[in-house]
């Protein structure tokens, strides 16, 4: 059964602005929606007709007093009515089930469309946005907000329409059977509605209070659990328990208040139902007594049935309005996200691109992730096709920003980043990144097989290519030792393989794409064993041989072999040259080199 997770908002039930956007999602399904509404109408008609049948059975056969029809004909008549009743009930069953399924089909489709749009949007959002938005918040959009909307579409909205039809159908048939009795009964309606509205207001405010108290308690609880050792170290257990106990009591009291009002709801309905019955008895009795045409025992009994039908939809009206209300709050957040500008966009007429020769130019590049916190200041350099360059410097010198800008993860504030003489902003992002291979500092392992982690699910990368790449970067031997070789399933964050193996995998991944430019954000991690370390170093050397490569280096052995070294400090290149030249200079590089060489690199 579905969980009823009610809202925490006080906003309107239907915001026209948001409703219009939602409607756009419903548009592709207008035909099934029309069918669904038509079915609802049909159902309301049939269901409204059933009491008429009962009335017929009672008046024409059961209580028929005239002598001209004998008992057996009367019994036959009842059987006849019974068959019609059964067929109509069967039809109602089929219609209701079909309609219910159709509605959930429509709801699921609409929500799936919305979910896809949201996912697509988030995949397109720039890294800058992803950097500053916690994954948890995005997850809430993708899960609970979407769920709230799903409930609203398949239960709330259609439920309300169905209820409306039922109410109108019942009222119509009552008027049809005896407009006088009907009108007398309708006299109760204003009181009923006032009663429901008053109670609902109380119930909702009580419920809101419950949710507030629950979330206060949950916050406290969460904090207490995560900080429990601190609490124990400072002997504050009693204190914390007392505080928790207080909130626990408050929550209970909030619940009791909610129960207080909630308990009134069904009994109130019950009293109104009883009032309707009594009115019926009096009015019906009077009508029968005075011999008013069209009012009979059968009519009276049919009216009893209508009264029951009438009250049923009212019972969960507040549930449905809650569902709708919370969906409005959720849809506001979702549409807000969908409409966030993307900042980094593809050019209108992108430069077509097949292969890069590999010329990289930075022209007076100034860059900050946030505000005026400059990471790169007026940086210029040229890297020739096929050349390998190492960037070295202390943490925060701006090395990895250089790599990020070449892949256009971010846009520069001033100056230009050019590849093959063209500004990176003039390429399509996908084209650019397909030709630029990146090995990240902390390789991300996706859940899936080893092979899919190397090919990144690219169907153009064959199994042979995957294995060939893995062999080239010395990853093949450890992969073959895994329980199912290349088909071994890895879990998120790659818990099942070691850090060094993850790095080898990341190298294979980059190589498999056969990039023209290779960016390696390399980090010597203390936890890599010597053997794997040697494999990684060997693989790095091989990889950099045949293409333009930038190595953001921490490993001495690899730096030494690179043709040119840029020494960076505070967003600028302060020294440049080969390893031998730089060492001779006895400058910043030399100190840095000694530090890296001491192999206990604690930063």
């Amino acid at each position: 059964m579905r969980k009823h997770l009610a809202d925490d908002s006080t906003g309107p039930i239907l915001d026209p602005h948001l409703a219009r956007k939602l409607l756009a999602y419903a548009k592709p399904y207008r035909v099934p929606i029309a069918w669904s509404v038509f079915t609802l109408l049909l159902m309301a008609m049939i269901q409204g007709y059933l009491p008429v049948l009962i009335k017929k059975a009672i008046d024409d056969y059961i209580t028929a007093t005239s002598a001209e029809i004998n008992a057996s004909i009367r019994i036959q008549g009842i059987t006849h009515v019974a068959w019609i009743f059964i067929s109509l009930s069967g039809a109602v069953f089929l219609l209701r089930s079909g309609q219910g399924y159709l509605m959930s089909w429509i709801g699921q489709r609409i929500i799936a469309d919305l979910r896809m749009d949201l996912f697509r949007k988030l995949m397109r959002m720039p890294l800058k946005f992803m950097d500053r938005t916690p994954v948890g918040r995005l997850m809430t959009r993708m899960s609970s907000d979407i769920e709230a909307m799903e409930r609203a579409v398949s239960d709330g909205l259609i439920g309300l329409i169905a209820d409306l039809f039922t109410l109108l159908g019942v009222m119509g048939f009552m008027l049809f059977l005896s407009w006088r009795l009907a009108l007398i009964l309708f006299l109760l309606l204003p009181f009923l509605f006032v009663g429901i509205v008053l109670l609902n207001t109380q119930i909702r405010s009580a419920h809101r209070n419950v949710r507030k108290q629950q979330s206060t308690l949950n916050t406290l609880l969460q904090e207490a659990i995560t900080g429990m050792l601190t609490i124990q170290l400072f002997s504050r257990e009693e204190n914390m328990h007392a505080r928790f106990g207080e909130h626990n009591h408050t929550l209970k009291d909030a619940w009791i208040r909610s129960v207080y009002w909630f308990s009134c709801f069904f009994p109130t309905m019950e009293v109104f139902r009883a009032l309707s019955f009594s009115l019926l008895l009096i009015a019906g009795g009077a009508a029968i007594g005075f011999g008013i045409k069209g009012v009979s025992i059968g009519v009276l009994i049919a009216f009893f049935a209508y009264v029951r039908e009438f009250y049923r939809p009212l019972e969960d009206l507040s549930d449905k309005s809650n569902i709708l209300q919370s969906a409005m709050a959720s849809s506001e957040r979702i549409f807000g996200l969908l409409e966030t500008p993307e900042e980094i966009e593809d050019p209108v007429s992108p430069k077509e691109l097949d292969h890069f020769k590999g010329l990289i130019e930075f022209e007076n590049v100034t860059f900050a992730y946030e505000g005026e916190d400059w990471v790169l200041r007026d940086l210029s350099f040229v890297i020739k096709p096929g050349e390998a360059v190492a960037l070295v410097g202390a943490t925060g010198a701006g090395k990895s920003s250089v790599a990020s800008l070449i892949a256009r993860f971010y846009d520069v504030q001033k100056g230009r980043v050019k590849v093959d003489g063209v500004d990176v902003r003039d390429y399509r992002q996908a084209d650019l990144r397909q030709r630029v291979g990146i090995v990240l500092q902390d390789p991300f392992i996706f859940s899936g097989s080893v092979a899919s982690n190397i090919s990144m699910n690219d169907p153009d990368i064959s199994r042979e290519r995957v294995i060939e790449s893995a062999k080239y970067v010395n990853a093949d031997s450890f992969i073959r030792e895994l329980p199912e070789g290349y088909d071994t399933e890895l879990s998120e964050r790659g818990a099942t393989i070691s850090t060094g193996q993850k790095q080898l995998l990341a190298l294979a991944r980059a190589l498999a794409q056969n990039p023209d430019i290779l960016l390696i954000l390399d980090e010597a991690t203390a936890s890599v064993d010597t053997e794997t370390e040697l494999l990684i170093q060997d693989a790095l050397k091989k990889l950099m041989k045949s293409r333009t490569s930038i190595l953001i280096a921490h490993r001495l052995s690899t730096i030494r072999d690179v043709g040119r070294i840029f020494v960076m400090r505070r967003g600028k290149i302060i020294e440049e040259g080969t390893h031998a030249e730089l060492i001779q200079k006895e400058g910043y590089y030399k100190t840095l080199y000694e530090l890296l060489g001491s192999d206990r690199n604690i930063t």
Binding site: V81, M123, L127, Q222, T226, Q232, F262, S263, F277, Q513
Partner: protein, 584 residues
């Protein structure tokens, strides 16, 4: 633990409210008696009177008034029962929640390193909710169902056996089908849940790995794969809908068939004048009245099943026994400590891995010792052992020459102050965070502690000074500020033993030197343990212990250690180079 003892544990709570339950049962009985035993008779009587034409208007008016009065009485009773029984659920829920929390305050490091916060939260929210559902609405509904059935069938069998049998046949059919369908629904629902968590993992991974995805221009492919996962999710949802949607229409159909059966059997009986039309209506009313109770049997079976499973999960917390607690060997006459710490052949394993091997060390009263070593070498564990957050597997930790386990836990904790590397601060005022270990907020002490930790000036810049609430209106502390707050929290309680566990890692060197100036005199007055990497801090210790891979490898003063080959000297050299790089 056996399910029996678990049931007994739950019954303890129920028994406390036995009078509420008894009162609830009585109210239910009277309410149901009116609803089933009186009101339908009134209606029956009225209709018979109308049908035969015997009744005049005042007659009917009287009956109608009686009907309303009866209904009001029944409704009031039902209202009070609801308040009583639903309230009972919430009262018991509160008691259980309180007991779980108490147990959580007693459980130790071992428990918290094993259990995830999210799991504990789930047990205290949704699992507890399922148990409450059983106790409140479950108890209410089951009593109404049982009492309603007994009375209604009693009345019906007296009125007309054949009609009563028709109704009785309906019972197993509806509740059986309903229960079966609920089970089927649950199975399909689990499939939906499974795919839902798959969907959410996939999403989570896509966001967390966005850098890699973008780097390989794989967003489109990832989106296509997401489409597949999302489609499967949708089709599983639709599979659920295929049974979950028709369930109410089906129940409606069954009841329609029931009323047709009543019409056929009852109509014939009326014609044969064995039943009055009023009685016929009365039977129809019972059908309506019993509709929900019949379904309720299936619903009850379902929530009871869920409640039992949830209670079992809750019991795993309630049944966990803390390893660190006062026991038979605790000597309650020990009320203070002077601060001498000795480790005798201490070894420690956590989740199957031995982390400390045969550690022997001695910290005399009033000395300052340093502990250093590579990340993951086990140096923090030494601090844990001194604060008795954990007990060794073998060997002994001695305080003042007596096993630490002989002291009441409160006494140890009361005299040991710990500032951890990643301190946990509470979303409360800064003042109460600093005064966390004090019996009450002592203003002078708070200010003194903040001044020592070099926090005073920064706090004065906050909107409400010491009364600023952390985490509110975007007030957050930097890593270094958090560490310094943890230092003031530890020294504010003026402990005999002060343990600073890597608290300088996020503090810049400039602040560190000012901090040390103030802090060193405070350290001198007690036994102090500085765990960390910075030679600039460690050099002030009387003795430094080096821990590598769980073993004590070096020990001596700063001056002795920098003359030896080993970890400490390398550490010193690296940090000198770093300093040169910084100033270059």
């Amino acid at each position: 633990m056996s399910s029996e003892s678990r049931r007994a544990r739950l019954l303890v709570y129920v028994r406390r409210h036995v009078w509420i339950i008894a009162a609830g049962m009585m109210l239910v009985t009277v309410g149901v008696a009116i609803g089933i035993g009186v009101l339908p008779f009134v209606l029956c009587h009225a209709i018979d009177g109308l049908a035969s034409g015997e009744f005049t208007l005042p007659h009917i008016g009287g009956l109608a008034a009686a009907y309303v009065l009866g209904a009001v009485a029944a409704s009031l009773l039902s209202l009070f029962t609801r308040r009583l029984m639903l309230g009972l659920g919430h009262r018991i829920e509160r008691e259980i929640r309180d007991d779980i929390f108490r147990r959580l305050t007693e459980l130790d490091l071992l428990f918290y390193s094993r259990e995830r916060t999210g799991d504990i939260m789930t047990r205290m929210t949704s699992d507890l909710g399922s148990v409450r559902e059983c106790l409140g609405p479950g108890l209410l509904q089951s009593s109404r169902t049982v009492i309603g059935f007994v009375m209604a069938f009693g009345v019906m069998f007296v009125m007309n056996i054949r009609m009563a049998v028709v109704m009785l046949l309906l019972l197993p059919v509806t509740s059986g089908i309903f229960f079966g369908l609920l089970r089927l629904i649950r199975k399909r629902y689990e499939l939906v849940q499974e795919q839902s968590s798959h969907l959410s993992n996939f999403t989570q991974e896509s966001f967390a790995g966005i850098r890699t995805l973008k780097g390989f221009a794989a967003e489109q492919r990832q989106t296509d794969r997401f489409q597949q996962v999302s489609d499967t999710f949708m089709s599983r949802n639709l599979a659920l809908s295929r049974i979950d949607r028709p369930i109410w229409p089906l129940m409606g159909l069954i009841f329609s068939l029931g009323s047709v059966a009543l019409l056929v059997v009852g109509g014939r009986l009326v014609i044969q004048e064995k039943l009055t039309i009023g009685q016929f209506v009365q039977f129809n009313q019972y059908l309506v009245l019993l509709q929900w109770p019949m379904l309720a049997l299936g619903w009850l079976a379902n929530i009871v099943q869920r409640g039992i499973a949830s209670w079992g999960r809750i019991c795993t917390i309630l049944e966990s026994e803390p390893a660190i607690r006062d026991a038979a060997r605790t000597d309650r006459s020990l009320t203070s400590i002077s601060g001498r710490i000795t480790f005798e052949n201490v070894s420690l394993s956590l989740s199957g891995r031995q982390l400390l091997h045969d550690i022997n060390l001695e910290v005399p009263v009033g000395t300052t010792v340093g502990i250093t070593g590579p990340t993951g070498s086990g140096k923090s564990l030494l601090g844990y052992l001194m604060a008795r957050l954990i007990d060794p597997d073998s060997g002994r930790v001695l305080v003042d020459g007596r096993d630490i386990r002989e002291f009441p836990v409160r006494i140890i904790r009361g005299h040991v102050g710990v500032a951890p590397q990643e301190p946990f601060l509470f979303s409360d005022t800064l003042a109460s965070n600093i005064a966390f270990g004090l019996p009450e907020e002592h203003e002078e002490r708070i200010i003194w502690a903040a001044e020592v930790a070099q926090l005073r000036e920064e706090i004065d810049l906050f909107p409400e000074g010491f009364q600023t609430v952390l985490g509110e209106r975007g007030v957050t502390l930097s890593g270094g500020q958090r560490q310094r707050t943890a230092i003031s929290r530890a020294i504010a309680k003026d402990p005999q033993i002060l343990i600073l566990d890597d608290v300088f890692s996020a503090i810049d060197t400039h602040t560190e030197s000012r901090l040390l100036q103030e802090l060193l005199p405070v350290l001198r007055g007690r036994t102090s343990v500085i765990i960390g990497h910075r030679v600039s801090t460690l050099r002030h210790a009387d003795v430094v212990f080096v821990v590598e891979q769980g073993r004590l490898t070096q020990c001596g003063s700063h001056n002795e250690l920098i003359r030896q080959d080993g970890y400490y000297r390398e550490l010193d050299e690296v940090q000198r180079l770093e300093a040169r790089l910084e100033s270059a």
